[in-house]
Symmetry: C2
Subunit: 502 residues, 2 copies
């Protein structure tokens, strides 16, 4: 009964982890402000308990035994679960509690310093603590172990199997192909999008967002949507998945595409097999694959013309004063306006990847010790000039804009780009395999696409690695050409670019 014992232990750890997820969800949505300190303490206590169970020697023993005997007796899915859990267990065991505490304490101080530095636009306030954090991350890479590059150890935490070697190739493509293409776009006249920033009252936006989610077949009996400052998705089982959105009354784009984006994450979570609760086979593969689901819905579906053929008229009727005279074509072009900008989270789907490129480059160099924290602003600004052709006016709009480094999340950013590139490759395949996909989308019938994703991706949990899944679904490993092809076709048409120049 070793496997059963393993499963019971994993279920218990999941119960606690999902309780932590609820404590965090509530913190971002409904918690009154004075509740913050005790909430942090409650989360810390549960985290310690979960960590204790996840690194329990008995669990280690069970996993080692199962892993040895597994090659003979266990079915493939169970075998893979054991192997993945053993890998996680072994990683967790490498952290001393003293190191975990230092990391957590530094993260807390670093976050506070970052907040202050950003508010006051003074990088110097953040630099010393960030330097400490980078040191800790280097140590973490050493204790986790790696091949070839220390950054690989950190990447692996978010995107198992990702390496500097592979990302270098990918981002070289981005640099060579996408930079050139965006320059072409920049030379063309920009679509008018001022109507996106008129006054759009909240409640109608909220209701429209819910309709979009329903159309995606987001299951409201197994999930809900709420409001938070930063949109996010979390879940407490595949049967209780929470997405949040943000509504700006002077920016229609914010709610619509955050709603579709988080909806895509949510559909992935709802599609994971409930029978595998707590096991790798019941979990998402990686951040990159998770992001592929949100971006496929947000961009490949949510920013395509057929989707808005199905939905624009309704939106127009909700806001006749703002959209009455805006044609579908104008609306479509406006939502796909490409324009270099300073802030990552406000970027269009093409220039977005230059933002990631900069961060990837910086992180890799920081962890390898090839650049120092104090040099960051200058280096950052020079990269923005090179890739985006813009002069960063101040650090709060530059190197201080993101929260990630203050949390110690090094290796996280690349998964955003991976998500888009996987999405393009998956969507390309879906388009081949689902008959008349664009017509279905035009009719507002998104079920065949969801069923395809369920079948090809969601239901497998972590059975495959990201690379295996990609090959399984599309016949080849991740290949940037699908994204580039998608970009050229779509934006070539929108911006009327000559094919040969592309």
């Amino acid at each position: 009964m070793g496997y059963r014992d393993y499963q019971e232990r994993m279920t218990k750890i999941a119960d606690i982890s999902y309780a932590i997820a609820l404590l965090s969800w509530d913190q971002e949505t409904y918690m009154p402000e004075k509740g913050a300190a005790f909430r942090a303490q409650q989360i810390a206590t549960l985290s310690t308990i979960a960590h204790g169970l996840a690194t329990d020697n008995e669990l280690g023993g069970i996993l080692t035994d199962l892993n040895k005997s597994g090659s003979h007796s266990l079915p493939e899915k169970e075998k893979r679960n054991v192997a993945r859990s053993l890998r996680d267990y072994s990683k967790q065991k490498k952290y001393s509690s003293e190191f975990v505490e230092r990391l957590s304490k530094t993260a807390s101080e670093c976050f506070q310093a970052w907040q202050k530095a950003k508010t006051e636009n003074r990088f110097a306030l953040f630099a010393p603590l960030l330097a400490t954090m980078v040191d800790l991350k280097k140590q973490e890479a050493e204790l986790l172990g790696y091949e070839a590059h220390p950054y690989n150890a950190l990447l692996d935490q978010y995107e198992p199997g990702a390496t500097v070697a592979a990302l270098d190739i990918l981002f070289k493509d981005v640099r060579e192909q996408l930079v050139k293409f965006v320059k072409q776009i920049a030379a063309a006249p920009k679509p008018e999008d001022a109507f996106m920033y008129k006054h759009y009252p909240k409640e109608k936006q909220w209701n429209f967002g819910l309709e979009l989610l329903k159309q995606m077949h987001y299951d409201f009996e197994a999930g809900r949507q709420d409001i938070s400052i930063h949109p996010f998705t979390t879940s407490f089982s595949a049967l209780d998945v929470r997405v949040t959105t943000k509504i700006l009354e002077d920016n229609l784009k914010s709610m619509i595409w955050s709603c579709i984006h988080e909806g895509g994450h949510g559909l992935y979570e709802q599609g994971l097999p409930t029978s595998e609760y707590g096991l790798p086979s019941g979990e998402a593969i990686s951040l990159g694959i998770h992001e592929s689901q949100s971006r496929l819905w947000e961009n490949n579906v949510g920013r395509c013309l057929p989707y808005w053929k199905a939905n624009y008229e309704r939106l127009q009727k909700l806001y006749p004063e703002n959209l009455g005279k805006v044609t579908l074509e104008q609306f479509y072009r406006a939502m796909n306006r490409v324009e270099p900008s300073f802030i990552r989270i406000e970027a269009d789907e093409l220039t977005y990847h230059f933002h990631i490129l900069v961060r990837y480059d910086v992180e890799k160099k920081l962890i390898a010790g090839k650049i120092q924290v104090k040099e960051l602003p200058e280096y950052w600004n020079s990269r923005y000039k090179e890739y985006l052709g813009i002069d960063v006016p101040s650090d709060d709009k530059g190197v201080l804009q993101d929260i990630h480094w203050s949390h110690g999340s090094f290796g996280y950013f690349p998964t955003y780009s991976l998500g888009s590139f996987y999405a393009a490759q998956f969507y390309h395949r879906a388009n081949m395999e689902i008959k008349g996909l664009e017509t279905l989308i035009e009719q507002g019938n998104l079920l065949p696409l969801l069923q395809w994703l369920r079948e090809k991706i969601h239901k497998h949990g972590k059975f495959y690695t990201a690379e295996e899944l990609c090959t399984q679904v599309t016949g080849e490993k991740l290949n940037f050409k699908y994204f580039m092809e998608y970009a050229k076709n779509k934006y070539g048409a929108i911006y009327n670019l000559k094919k040969e120049k592309v």
Copy 2:
């Protein structure tokens, strides 16, 4: 450092218990329906962990040592904390895990049977499982131990120190004095209250409820209000207290008085000392004292004329179509309409206690084995006839109406009456000690009353027992005469009863 060790352990247990409270709050407010099964499992897992920590032998050792040495070295508050925690610990240790499991399994089955029995109005479906539950509760009383009456062991779980001997005296007063008084009222003409049941749109009710809470100085930075099927209060620290309400569009009374009632509970929770988090000195004394706070606000304040002098005009303006021609006096009389009825939770503040009287009587006899489960409907109906003068038409409006017994909550009901009686006694005292209390209320200034409650009751946590607190605050033990006096003054005036007949 024994006390510090004890405090750290209690803090950890509290962290888990409050996480459970959040899981439960979410279950009642926002959880999508399919999330129920995994949620129950998550709560069970955390409960087991909390129970494990609360019955840990090391904790027992620390408590025993501190309790021995405490009489010399510890300050009084710390000494009492240790004594109370040791008492709780010793009680918890009496339960075998096998017994806990049987209790929990029976409760779950019994609850399902009750739901079905109530829906189908068939007591026979509930009876066998209720009989099993009663047997278990008898066993529980035996294993906990008691003096004089087994029911005392169960009462003690909700109202430490409460006994059959004391309650018998109290409920004898209720029977002798209140039954007679209500008969007098029944003979008088009833106030018109049809306007309470007109159409009252939701959103205005919601906003009005929030205003009432703000007026009570319920701290919305340390709490919030949401909607649930059954209104309740819970907290995750004194700095994060959640109340819920229920809005019926065809019954104005439901929202208003549930809102004030839960607000009273919420103010107690917000008034507990945050520095005592996790310790008895940071917890409410008992269910009876908790209920005294909700009922003092709901009835003594929320159903008095000065309160509505401050608030009626605003309400009237919200609903001119329903209340435009209703005078303050008419509104006041309508909210205090006394009328025997079948359903406890819909009862007025006087006949309410007859409902409790019946339940107390039944529980005591069941646990003592003086009545059998199968005899319940007949016995129940005969009691309703005697105290309320009404013929119960069917078991779903009679013995099947409450959820409590299906959960195994025997000994809980009496705390509702205790709450009202404590409230009357506390309020009587407040009226003596706060200069011009009624005038202040009339001005909508509820702060002096809240400050009085904070100072006299809230801030002490469990430092005093209920009996000690009552004596400390009012100069004497709980005495039914304060409630009776309040009832006679108020309803004598409303119903124009002759003083001497009373």
